[in-house]
Subunit: 199 residues, 2 copies
């Protein structure tokens, strides 16, 4: 079994157990139909007042010039591996509700919901997704003319995971290390903060 397949304490969907964030990508494109399904999945997420605060800016490696522009929006440590992926995206959030202009407290959270869908869909299609908080927010805004009221949130690499041996050795090791998580007892409480739920 892939060492990245989660060893779960309770059964979960394959698309959740199998998902991981690779550093090694095959340097090839993603089929448009697959990419569209990933974005469509994101589109149908829930959001507060159905605001759908999420926006995506997409660059495909087939378009070398556009792809390079997006690589330049990443921090250097991410550029090193992400430039191999088939698709790079920026996620952007709308800060306010379109219905009344008031601040949307959960706008970033709701972008996360959309990207959660995207990850599940990508995994089901044999694609791998690696998200990055490490982006240059100023360069991203300037490069794409992101207007006031919207803010970049993350970058996302989507593509085909490769044999870790093809990655930089330090990164390859990460691709070989099993995924770990805090136990449920440390993240799920009942009654009061810190009191583990008993189910």
């Amino acid at each position: 079994m892939n060492p990245k397949h989660a060893t779960t304490d309770h059964p979960v969907l394959d698309v959740i157990a199998q998902r991981y964030s690779p550093y090694a990508y095959e340097p090839r494109g993603v089929e448009p139909a697959k990419l569209l399904s990933c974005l469509e999945a994101a589109r149908w997420a829930a959001s507060s007042y159905n605001e759908q605060p999420w926006r995506f800016i997409v660059a495909r490696r087939e378009d070398a010039k556009e792809f390079a522009r997006m690589v330049d929006c990443l921090l250097e440590a991410n550029q090193a591996w992400a430039k191999q992926a088939g698709v790079l995206m920026l996620t952007v959030t709308s800060r306010t509700f379109s219905r009344n202009g008031k601040p949307n407290r959960v706008c970033e959270h709701d972008v996360g919901l959309a990207v959660g869908n995207l990850c599940a869909q990508a995994t089901a299609l044999g694609l791998a997704v690696h998200q990055m908080a490490g982006i240059n927010l100023t360069i991203a805004r300037q490069t794409y003319g992101i207007p006031e009221g919207f803010d970049p949130v993350t970058a996302i690499a989507v593509g085909y995971a490769a044999d870790p041996a093809t990655a930089d050795p330090a990164l390859a090791q990460r691709d070989r290390t099993p995924r770990t998580r805090l136990p449920l007892a440390e993240i799920v409480f009942a009654g009061n903060w810190g009191k583990s739920v008993v189910l």
Copy 2:
């Protein structure tokens, strides 16, 4: 077909197309094994530096006293329907990285990723999830002793969707109305802000 089943422009997973946020819930509990799978799914989401900023506070309707405490954390408009659900949860985020104490810019986004997993798992198990931004943040913090450095984000109702006829008529209508979303052309750009991607 359930009118809430998404009419998608591109194929997506059933757990994404079928998911919706009901107002009508059957007033019965959720089996612990199913609830554990939902939380386990959340646990395996990606997060920046694997910080796992998400915390969940859970109240089951079988424990009437605890359930009532959580109902009281919701805004009144949400209390009206959410008190019928089998489980209520609060999501909470850690604001800082445990490794260095620095602010985690994407902490709320990453809670969204975890809840995205939870939604997919719940849908696969025949459960429905309705998330709420409409909570009383102060009461939530006081009720559960949420410490400094952590903030409540959303509430989540989990349970079995009921016939809309069992809900308040104004809410029942929402349960009968098809889900709608912005077209991909309005949320996915390439090259520059507002320029629809062509795939």
